[in-house]
């Protein structure tokens, strides 16, 4: 008996991965539908908001000509925080002030809606307010999804459900993840006048800054982020789930404590909080990804664990966009050959391997393990800040020479060998 298909491809989730896949397929003239549980695409989605411009430009050429992004990033700051102290590396790259822009900031409810609309304009159907609950199976092959009483059949299904991998697990491609390989990310959005943002952070026009933080998290592996939007600020903290619960510190308290740091308080001065949000983030990296394809199915974006935790920042939106695009291309191939089995969808893996998606994730595959070392998040920021304090602090006495002071400082703290060990491990993993 032949199956009556409603669509060529059904995509679960109108996040970045889903809409990118839908746009790719719709442009190829395929019949494609996105199922989105939110009130509209983006209503459920959270990110810090920093995204690589060239990746976006591949999916929507000349994206900057539209009202999709907030600011383009020209200043990057990395700050080590410890009690009362902060040390910042401040990089200003005006090279990044030209389209396609190296990095941009986005607000997801707005950005996701825009991207989904692009897919819709290209011919994709968007079914929002709808939860895909389970699959329809036939002879070990996924042939569509169920939502309540409704059934929708398709030759292929792309799972782009994000970090909560209910469907990837139901498709028997993923196991329920361990909290060791996940983080919880909390975010606050603040309103601040455009002029004040530009003056406070030395920005010309639509330039923006990103500031990432290490330390001051009770030793919990993770870090803070701060990005400027047009008239808002994105500020948040990401903490490894397993270490958080082991420390018995509530995520919400760790976040409030972090925010108390004087450096953070200055960034947020006079700004008014307008929204709070939070989301889980896969951060196990390359070693903990699920199987990426099967009979009638492929997985893209966070659902596939495609997030790079490089210690100072989390990258997931770029991987979501690109893996979605590649899943779209792979689906097109499988539709051309009429092979919807795992043999037909396998080409997805090849496309991923040839792209930055699997290459970058693989290159950083040891990072996740390395970043479990707690001292990176408590000892080193404190060590460097206290060294700076020693070097700069005037006691009214004759001053000491810099290099011997530094060596003595590290030896006294008994950290020199560990530091060298970690530096070596860092070189290998990050």
């Amino acid at each position: 008996m032949t199956v009556e298909y409603d669509f060529d491809v059904i995509i679960v989730g109108a996040g970045l991965a889903g809409s990118s896949a839908a746009l790719t397929l719709a442009k190829e003239g395929k019949e494609v539908a996105i199922i989105e549980r939110g009130q509209y695409p983006g209503a459920k989605n959270v990110s810090g908001g920093a995204l690589y411009g060239p990746v976006l430009n591949k999916i929507v050429p000349n994206y900057w000509e539209e009202d999709a992004i907030e600011r383009y990033l020209t200043t990057k700051k990395i700050t080590l925080l410890s009690e009362k102290r902060a040390m910042t590396i401040d990089i200003d790259l005006q090279d990044f002030a030209e389209p396609p822009y190296n990095g941009v900031t986005v607000i997801r409810p707005k950005f996701d809606r825009w991207l989904a609309q692009k897919a819709e304009e290209a011919g994709a159907f968007i079914l929002d307010n709808t939860v895909a609950e389970d699959f329809i199976w036939k002879d070990n092959q996924i042939i569509g999804i169920e939502s309540g009483e409704d059934e929708l059949k398709a030759k292929l299904t792309i799972i782009a459900e994000g970090a909560v991998t209910l469907l990837a697990e139901k498709a028997k491609l993923a196991k329920k993840p361990s909290p060791s390989h996940y983080a919880v990310g909390m975010k606050e959005t603040y309103e601040l006048k455009k002029e004040i943002i530009e003056e406070r952070f030395h920005l010309n026009g639509n330039e923006g800054i990103s500031n990432e933080f290490l330390g001051y998290t009770h030793g919990i592996p993770g870090g803070g982020f701060f990005y400027t939007n047009k008239e808002t600020l994105s500020f948040g903290l990401i903490l490894n789930m397993k270490k958080l619960i082991q420390k018995k510190i509530r995520a919400i308290d760790a976040f409030e404590d972090f925010k108390k740091h004087p450096y953070i308080q200055k960034l947020l001065k006079d700004a008014k909080m307008v929204e709070y949000s939070a989301h889980a983030i896969p951060e196990g990296g390359y070693k903990h990804m699920p199987k990426l394809y099967g009979n009638g199915v492929m997985i893209a974006g966070d659902a596939a664990g495609m997030v790079l935790n490089a210690g100072l920042y989390i990258e997931g939106m770029n991987f979501a966009l690109e893996s979605g695009r590649l899943a779209g291309l792979a689906a097109k191939e499988a539709l051309t050959t009429n092979d919807y089995s795992a043999e037909g969808t396998k080409i997805y893996l090849k496309l991923l391997r040839d792209s930055f998606v699997l290459q970058d994730l693989k290159r950083f595959k040891r990072a996740a393990k390395f970043l479990e070392r707690e001292r990176i998040f408590n000892v080193y920021p404190e060590l460097l800040n206290s060294l700076m304090y020693q070097l700069l602090h005037n006691t009214g006495e004759p001053r000491k020479r810099i290099v011997p002071t530094a060596i003595k400082h590290f030896l006294k703290k008994g950290k020199l060998f560990k530091l060298m060990g970690d530096a070596f491990a860092a070189l290998r993993s990050i």
Binding site: Q39, K187, M241, I249, D257, K260
Partner: protein
């Protein structure tokens, strides 16, 4: 200056919800929490204070689905499989505007 520390209820009051009064999308098995759990990981993991520790209560934690931001953390941190996790029905639940 930012008020500090600001209570989580005040923060969540800024977030928009379309609460489904007829469907608790997440439920916990109180029997498991009572007899098996000693760590209460859900309380530490949840970023919306849906889980609260109760001193000397019959059940050690209380759970309220209304402030849930659907982050997925409790599903992963509960070590005893006590959390039955679903999404709210389509169109219900949290609705972010600025995140």
């Amino acid at each position: 200056m930012v008020e500090n520390p600001i209570k989580i209820e005040e923060k969540l009051a800024l977030t928009k919800y379309v609460t489904d009064k007829n469907f608790a999308h997440i439920t916990i098995n109180e029997e498991i929490c009572k007899t098996k759990c000693k760590t209460y990981d859900c309380v530490y993991g949840c970023p919306a204070e849906c889980y609260k520790l109760v001193e000397d209560g019959d059940v050690p934690v209380t759970f309220d689905y209304a402030p849930c931001v659907e982050c997925g953390t409790c599903r992963l941190v509960c070590p005893h499989g006590s959390v039955d996790w679903h999404y709210p029905h389509g169109g219900f639940g949290v609705e972010f505007k600025m995140s």
